[in-house]
């Protein structure tokens, strides 16, 4: 009872005695526990020795003799360091090019007046809706024509321009007082210098929010890299994990699958737990992944 009082101490006195909100809260607590069960199983199964037998595989209570054998096996079967490197290259490559394209385009929309502005704005808006995944078939043939089939560049290229990022930067740049730019203008700074030395440094929170969204979504991409990549040594983590799961499932090695899954999702989960607030606010401002 003390705990409940504590939880409700910041609610208005008048509504503190109502029962419905408390029931809703209790249900949410229950569901949050259910939500964590797959993660709990993953952790427990990773550390479970094979000697516990297949029937104990589903046990959510940890084994008394924890072992790292599953981690070692997963490490040996799947080339996870290579997959992680490929995923890192893909995410970094996409992000770096996006930073350039969205800064330039965002500035044009925020500060410049030009013929056809509305038309071009709506062209950008259209990209938000036409979700690139739907266009995998024509984009795969284009990537092949450009000679980029089975290359990491081919995986990255469709995401080099980002309408969402452009709009995010447009908003950030619009919030910057024009007086700052005017001062630089008097000092003879060129357009690019003004962007580089005034707009970019003052918009760092927006850049980092965009980085979180961009990296999270491309870290998790599956179908597109699956189609573009053919060589095993160019697989990103997601494609590597799916091949690994399919192989291990045949041998019923669930402890190894759990260990492999853990290795794939650990980097992003740990980053999230450290920078929780940043992640959450980035996802709220984004709306679209």
């Amino acid at each position: 009872m003390k705990l409940i009082d504590k939880l409700y101490k910041d609610t208005p006195l008048a509504t503190r005695r109502e029962i419905t909100p408390k029931l809703g809260f209790a249900l949410t607590v229950l569901l949050a526990i259910v939500w964590l069960v797959p993660f709990l199983w993953m952790g427990v199964a990773t550390l479970r020795p094979a000697s516990d037998g297949i029937n104990a595989m589903a046990e959510l209570l940890p084994s008394l003799k924890p072992t790292l054998d599953n981690v070692r096996d997963a490490w040996e079967i799947g080339d996870f360091p290579r997959y992680a490197l490929n995923t890192t290259i893909i995410c970094t490559g996409i992000l770096l090019v996006q930073f350039v394209t969205i800064t330039l385009a965002g500035f044009a929309f925020a500060r410049l007046d030009f013929a056809g502005k509305s038309l071009i704005f709506y062209l950008f808006l259209m990209q938000l809706m036409l979700v690139p995944v739907l266009l995998i078939v024509p984009n795969l043939s284009l990537v092949a024509q450009l000679g980029l089939y089975d290359t990491l560049t081919g995986v990255m290229m469709p995401f080099f321009a980002s309408a969402f990022g452009t709009f995010l930067m447009r908003q950030a740049f619009e919030a910057i007082p024009t007086e700052l730019e005017d001062a630089a203008l008097i000092d003879g700074a060129s357009l690019l210098q003004r962007i580089r030395h005034i707009y970019v440094p003052l918009s760092m929170p927006s850049f980092s929010a965009f980085a979180i969204i961009s990296v999270t979504s491309h870290w998790n991409d599956f179908l597109w890299p699956l189609m573009v990549i053919n060589s095993p040594d160019k697989r990103p983590l997601t494609v590597g994990l799916s091949v690994f799961t399919a192989t291990a499932e045949g041998t019923q090695a669930w402890g190894t699958i759990a260990a492999g899954t853990l290795m794939v999702i650990a980097p992003l989960l740990i980053t999230f737990l450290i920078f929780q607030k940043r992640f959450i606010s980035s996802f709220v401002t984004s709306g679209i992944k």
Partner: protein
Amino acid sequence: MSLAEPAALPVAASAAPRLHVLKRFSSRFKASLPAYLLLLPSLIFLALFTYGAMGRVLVDALYQRATPKAPLRFVGLDNLSAVLADPYFTGAVINNLLYAVGTAIPSIGLALLFALALSRTNAVSSALRAALFLPVLIPMVAASALFLFIFLPNVGLLDYYIGRLLPVLPNWLGDPDIALSAIMVITIWKNAGYYMLFFLAGLQAVPEDVMEAAHLDGAGPFMRFRHIILPELKPTFLFVIVIATLNAVTQVDHVFVMTKGGPSNSTNLVLFYIYQQAVEHYDIGKASAATLLTLAALMGLTALSFRTMANREGGP
């Protein structure tokens, strides 16, 4: 400075006005040049991978190859009618509709419950929010690997624990009547925490003093929800419904890892069908026709989301 602005200078001959307009147009273009140069890098990639892609889908849908190596042959609307007559495609469309409704409603409902319960900021509720948000961050492929074991017959997590209560258990992923619901569960687990964020943001707009005043007037929790919170959340609902629908059409990684569309095509979704046509059957014509139909179907949704997006972005 609009182009329709009447000419201020008197113009004499008939050829002169046109020259004047041209001159004005070119000076407007010159003034716009820096903006175009800044937009160029983005527009190149958008042209290649978004607008160009749409154009190519349109053209590809009109051609057919007899074999992967054979030359292209113009077939007009044959691909389109072939797709529409393909029971696998119509099956995928029906599955996708069921899947969209069956994932959107529960995950949005749960998201709203979570947001209402966790709207106050304290250590407990932020820990619970984080727990509910974790699935959003992991790849669908990883979620599928975990749920493969959860749904495993006899030894899996679900059967191991529920098996003690129920005598007969279905084969969750192996039964055509249940498999689609099983993959819906993963989607709900993965997305509810994401939609929760938008409701949390939306709830911040609900004024605390109005809530208190309503309470003093004798309005219970349900009355306050119905008459104060719900109207305030209307734009959030619209936005989340759009995102949930887009997710239902564009995420098929779990289908790929867990069921490959089976058993008996009960979990085949439209995007997976497109993938199968393109990659497994090398039938680009049919894959393009199916893409075209899906794009057309999303146009209605696009119109709706254009409005909500434009409102969010505030227009140019």
